[in-house]
Amino acid sequence: METLSYLAIGFEQALTPQALLFCLLGVSLGTFIGVLPGIGSLTTIALCLPLTFHLEPLPGLIMLAGIFYGAQYGSSTASILLNVPGSAPAAITCLDGYPMSQQGRAGIALFITTIASFIGGSFAILLLVFFAPILADFAISFSAADYFSIMILALTAASTLSVGSPLKGLTMVVLGLLLGLVGTDINSGQFRFTFGIPALADGINLVALAMGLFGVAEILNNLSNGNVPLASREDISLKNMLPSKQDWKAFRNACLRGSVIGSFIGMLPGTGPTIATFMAYAGEKKLSDTPEKFGKGAIEGISAPEAANNASVQAAFIPTLTLGVPGDAIMAVMLGGLLVHGITPGPQLVTTDAALFWGVVASFWIGNALLLVLNLPMIGLWVKLLSIPYRILFPSVLFLICIGVYSVNNSSVDVLLTLGFGLLGFFLNRFGYPSAPLLLGFVLGPLIEENFRRALVLSGSNLATFITRPISLVFLLMTLALLSFTFWRGSIRHLNNPSGVNP
């Protein structure tokens, strides 16, 4: 088959010593950056971009891509061990990863997330290799109405994120939606809630919000409780890292589902891994027979999001490489890097520069394999991190958060925002308001509004467009089905357990 022969060329290109070296460099740097809270792959790629100008295009691109998907491997490490996410999408992994760590199962959690990441990434790569053109065309056909309906489905995921009062969870979602609106309204150019502050004109920085809400708030929480997390007495032998037989089955299915969701969301331009991760988590919780175990260390609660994470990030290359339409801000930066070499990204890239295209694709698989090899032995090392006394750990984490957030836009305003959100999160958490729904609302809000309004402009103010467009209809029906299913289940449970505590 033609694809396979192209793939062979690709591997040939990607297995040269130089390409391998830069692949290794990229994935290692990516993992390292992913572990560090605050600084993320966008910043790193942006900072490394000038370095690639002096390289051949292929090794340069391989390295940057390696940083990108490598970061998704590392970002769950801090989430699991410290309840501080390495990046915004990793915030979901905190929900079940940290409890696992508290139960002395940090090693298993890290092991599972690494494997899940690999499965997710590989799945998306397979899609890329064999179906890229079809999928790219499919992805690009999504119009505003379709995006809207998907985001509405994603919004229903919010209800799965709250442990405790649904009212408070909902309040946080709405607050998140509102915070997402701060900045410039894309449909009209109106500045909203910016109070004359130019730094807010582009909106609130997601990294600042996530790091503050989850990182700083968590640290404040621990310090305030005075119950400094105990040093782990975990046994880090390989035997203890492996999940049990029941774990494997739950794990395998969750990974598959996560990979599918992640790949799908990832290939749609403009969505991002955060949404994919949240949806994968929500999907697991809704489909599970035992949703109560989520939030307390459920295997599915970390495997599906992690698989989705990596799948989405890998799948974002599908429209990028096939159509020259970057699926992500990070892709855009990388394509910009190609410009310097005189390579104009676009669909012709696949044909005119097949060696480059397939070389990069082959390097993905090599990179993911390298990451697996790199990350597994490191698990023991990471778990040892837990034995660092908290009085040394927490200033270090705060420091990393500060410089990490700063480096995104070279803006101290962002760091101040992080502090603000940290305080907000801390106080609200104390009163039973969960943080995860706010993050989801924040990410979804602007997308929902923007696409709703744009869909109406495109259809000439005709509301029917949401039902006449098949994709949109499908997702709206799915949302309806999901809502009914939840109600039905909720009422069955209530019927079976009339005196049961309903949170």
Binding site: A46, L47, L49, P50, F53, I140, S141, S143, T184, I186, N187, S188, G189, Q190, F191, T194, G196, P198, A199, A201, D202, P269, G270, P319, L323, G324, V325, P326, A332, V333, M334, L335, G336, G337, L339, V340, G342, T344, P345, G346, P347, Q348, L349, N409, N410, S411, E450, R454, V457, L458
Partner: protein
């Protein structure tokens, strides 16, 4: 008590260091030695964008010509505020330069409550890059020319651009005004989104920078029907200008230029202007810029300032007519 002492100590030390830092910065550098250390060039955009890429390409030979490295610093942020504030906090010694674009002239109106005045606080060195915008249609839409499209669609015309307040978007507004029709301008977030809209044929026309969509044009995904410059683009000799298509008083050309802080010694400015002109006119840079779809051209400082002022006024009128919100 002990802790209070340490706290005060830390703060004192920091203040002392700040003071020292300022001291060293006010030491006057002799203009005869310029440049004697690397020169910072602040770009109000993130890396990988057009301004970033072209400046980096030009930056190397420029640095060689001047005998010192050019260090590119990205300071993105709405309205170029972060970048401008940064250079205005530096010394006017020629070691910090900033890249202004036609976007800056737009920001003058959009962000009118800023604590600085671009026209007063910065002085021009020279322009570096000039680029056109291009109007594109879907290749299968059966559109012969811009006039034909306007005649056919009239007020039903849908134009996609990137976000309101961008050069592309304001160009579309200007187009609307000058062409006499009332097209619907639909803003998207990024150029890829705009391209997507065209590919889905949910809009009839797309206006964006040539470089951004060069790949799409070359591969046949999009067909140019007009360019916005004063004369035809050498990369697309068959494509008429918007003026040629019958729309009067419509010329939009984007530019990137190097500026320095006001108060920089004129000898240094002259030296910089000479170097930029020399580098920009080399065959290598001319070729590489053309490959990117832009034109490398230097100007005198006076010409640049004139252009800046003209553009500020031009876009101010467009913004007012379009009713776009200002901060």
């Amino acid at each position: 008590m002990k802790q209070a002492v340490i706290l005060i100590g830390t703060l004192t030390i920091s203040l002392l260091l700040t003071a020292c830092g300022e001291q060293s910065q006010t030491a006057v550098e002799s203009t005869a030695d310029y440049p004697s250390k690397p020169i910072r060039v602040i770009i109000p955009f993130g890396p990988g964008g057009l301004a970033d890429v072209t400046l980096r390409l030009a930056g190397e030979p420029l640095g060689e010509g001047l005998g010192q490295r050019l260090v590119i610093e990205n300071r993105p942020g709405a309205g170029g505020v972060a970048a401008t504030t940064n250079i205005l906090n530096s010394e006017a010694d020629g070691y910090t330069l900033i890249v202004l674009t036609n976007g800056t002239t737009i920001a003058e109106t959009l962000f009118d409550k800023l604590p600085y005045q671009i026209t007063e606080d910065l002085v021009p060195v020279s322009s570096v890059t000039w680029f056109d915008l291009v109007l594109l249609v879907h290749p299968d839409a059966g559109v012969e020319s811009l006039e034909a499209l306007l005649a056919e669609k009239g007020n039903d015309l849908k134009i996609a651009t990137i976000n309101p307040g961008s050069t592309q978007n304001l160009t579309a507004e200007l187009f609307n005004t000058r062409s006499g029709i009332d097209a619907t301008i639909i803003p998207y977030r990024t150029t890829p989104d705009v391209l997507g809209a065209l590919l889905r044929q949910e809009v009839d026309l797309v206006i964006d920078a040539y470089t951004a969509l060069k790949g799409a044009i070359d591969s046949g995904q999009a067909r140019p029907v007009a360019v916005t410059g004063e004369s035809r683009n050498p990369a697309m000799p068959d494509v008429p200008t918007v003026t040629e298509a019958g729309i009067e008083d419509f010329v939009v050309t984007g530019w990137n230029a190097l500026y320095a802080k006001a108060g920089t010694p004129p000898e240094i400015l002259r030296q910089l202007n000479d170097s930029v002109a020399r580098v920009v006119n080399t065959q290598d840079i001319q070729n590489r810029f053309r490959e990117l779809g832009v034109e490398a051209r230097a100007t005198s400082a006076e010409q640049m300032q004139e252009r800046l002022l003209d553009d500020i006024e031009k876009w101010r009128q467009v913004i007012e007519t379009a009713g776009i919100d200002t901060l």
